[in-house]
Amino acid sequence: MSGGVDSSVAAALVAEAGHEAIGVTMKLLPGSPTGFGCCGSPEDIGDARRVAERLGIRHYVLNFDEVFERSVVDRFVEDYVKQRTPNPCVECNRSVKFGALLRLAEAYDAPKVATGHYARLEEGPNGVRLLRAVDEAKDQSYFLHSLTRGELERVSFPLGEMRKPQVREKARALGLRTADKAESQEICFVPGKDYRGFVRSRAGDEAFKPGDIRDASGRRLGTHEGLPNYTVGQRKGLGLSGGTPYYVTKLDGPSNTLVVGSLEEASSTRFRVGRLSKISGALPRSCRVRIRHRGDLHEAQVEENGPEALVSLAAPANAVTPGQSAVFYQDETVLGGGTIEEVLG
């Protein structure tokens, strides 16, 4: 229970279904004042507690700041330093919410952990399947691809069949104080949405060495302000004048060069995916892949190779970005996914 409307209603639905619901707020950031936006600010903890009181369920604040720091925040900074654009929500789900919390729930003899994620679970002859949410605009299945089938069996997503307005309506009907609370921002541990400042404060100025901006032919076009400031596909903020717009096509670490090019040059069809996880056995040769949260579903050919996969898209996609997740779908079903390691062309 983050103190937002989604987890408030998820808790309400668990309790309504007659289960013994135990509310847990995860404290993810150390020290005080804690949290920015979503995770564990004193106001949010207070909201979660008040909602639990209203629902007549127990509520505990449990501390996960060490595992969060190690597996989410450190990795986030490390990724930027290594010219990657990380996806901290995927990492948090993998290691914290459906990692450490799920293990703790087991130690407490709680058979399931319910969250306010928008995704669906469906029992089938071959075990549980992870499906996209009914509310396309809120679908969070992309962030959940790394969960194993064993983990999914101990998870519940009560909001998967609902649309956001229904969730707010339900919260209002129950008199929950979070009913009209604003959406949280995406990166809960970064103050003021300034991820660059955050990375600089952690990694130091040496991670932000200025270098050349060049096109694919090697022609020097300008100076960049440190590679962690940029992401593949970025157009704005490059400081380049001239007629045709330039897009970031590559962050080249060894030469500290920002490579730019046309929109066409910023698009690719082939890439390598690492840390591959699969929910229901081997991936089919042919499926659809999503390369960013709420991005398009691209037709793709997939070639599995141990913990990796090679992906070929039927048509070029803009800004295939190392560090982001590639998630495989067949119709509504999430098959699995991994991290984009390298763009091959």
Partner: protein, 386 residues
């Protein structure tokens, strides 16, 4: 569902039925203002003064030396702020130094921080690995600018009992006022203000089976304090209409505590020792503090590599109420200031568990606690290794 096992008496205690019964008439028909001239008021006044006698008897004070307050924290602030400010005023600013320790309750440490912000000099004495303050360090800290020394009687987390009499004697010899926060001591161990030689001593109702919202301060005759709450009540030491019913409750609780203090302490210590022996037979468990100089009902244990708050939650889900430290509802897993001052290593100190016994604790409670601890601890250890 079976009754919850309550082993968190250092946080608060159940109100004894005799206390509730004694209070009820003062919440119903006996509602008079004790400062009123009429008969209804006189009835309330009589009840308050009887309670004052009972409380005074528990700590061997004169009734005129007892000031009723709203809680132990208020008593501490009244003493520390009141004595420091009075000392400053009466010495024309020459006395502006207060000596305290690193293990005090926030009511004392927070007041000292406030005094520091107002220009007072504060010396915070360290403690040894058992949380003991050395009288020599107190002696060394006192200067001619010192107006007050404040050292707690018994620590709320560890239960360590300080050499209060020795420290008080040093203060008296040096002409410095001495206050002790005895919130955890009064009613649990013999506390005699004359034998201890203290100038001020704070206590609380809800730690000794009276309700929350009432406490008191012993102020030795002749000690002058700056007044926090203006008004003529409580001999012009504390304004505000007296909380008659709760004061009556505190009086009854004090008398009950005094009657069987020694026997009760001995039986609690026996239960506590049994609980500790059972807990210490598990792997990766340590006892904190000096086994001799501590409260009879307090056990403090550290579990290596465990998150103390997770353990508390697991035990609560199993029907056992204990705590990992003072006011840990925020979920933070940081070492308490007391454990830091004792230099307990992180890997042990983060897994702290305070088990505090009191009135009503039974052998069965101890056995249920031990069974639950073994189960929950085993599961947490198992989950941590995955």
């Amino acid at each position: 569902m079976t009754r919850a096992v309550y082993l968190d008496h250092n946080a608060t205690t159940p109100v004894r039925p005799e206390v509730v019964e004694a209070m009820l008439p003062h919440l119903r028909e006996g509602f008079g203002n004790p400062n009123s001239a009429h008969a209804l008021g006189q009835g309330s006044r009589k009840a308050i003064e009887e309670a004052r006698e009972r409380v005074a008897a528990l700590i061997n004070a004169d009734a005129s030396e007892i000031v009723f307050t709203s809680c132990g924290s208020e008593s501490d602030v009244m003493a520390v702020y009141g004595a420091a400010q009075a000392g400053f005023n009466e010495s024309a600013g020459k006395r502006s130094h207060v000596v305290t320790t690193a293990i005090e309750h926030f009511a004392v440490s927070g007041t000292c921080r406030e005094l520091a912000a107002r220009g007072f000099e504060i010396t915070t004495l360290g403690v040894d690995e058992n949380a003991l303050v050395s009288p020599e360090s107190v002696s060394g800290a006192i200067s001619e600018r010192t107006s007050l020394v404040t050292v707690m009687t018994a620590n709320n987390e560890i239960g360590t009992i300080q050499p209060v009499a020795e420290i008080a004697a040093i203060c008296r010899a040096r002409g410095v006022l001495f206050h002790t926060d005895a919130v955890q001591g009064v009613g649990k161990i013999p506390v005699d203000v004359r034998a201890l030689g203290v100038d001020m001593l704070a206590f609380s109702g809800h730690k000794i089976n009276a309700p929350k919202g009432v406490g008191g301060l012993f102020v030795r005759k002749g000690v002058r304090l700056a007044q926090l709450i203006a008004g003529k009540q409580e001999s012009s030491r504390r304004g505000g209409t007296e909380n008659t019913a709760s004061i009556v409750g505190l009086g009854v609780a004090a008398e009950l505590a005094r009657k069987d203090l020694d026997a009760h302490a001995a039986s609690l210590a026996a239960l506590r020792d049994r609980l500790e022996a059972g807990a210490l037979s598990l792997d990766g468990v340590r006892r904190t503090g000096n086994p001799a100089l501590r409260l009879p009902g307090t056990a403090h244990l550290c579990f290596q590599g465990i998150d103390g708050h997770q353990l508390v939650v697991g035990l609560d889900l199993d029907g056992i109420c204990v705590s990992s430290g003072p006011a840990c509802h925020s979920g933070a897993t940081e070492l308490s200031h007391v454990l830091k001052a004792m230099r307990v290593p992180d890997e042990w100190g983060k897994g702290a568990l305070r088990v505090s016994l009191g009135w009503g604790t039974t052998e069965e409670d101890v056995e249920r606690f031990l069974a639950s601890l073994k189960k929950v601890l085993g599961k947490l250890r198992q989950s941590a290794t995955i």
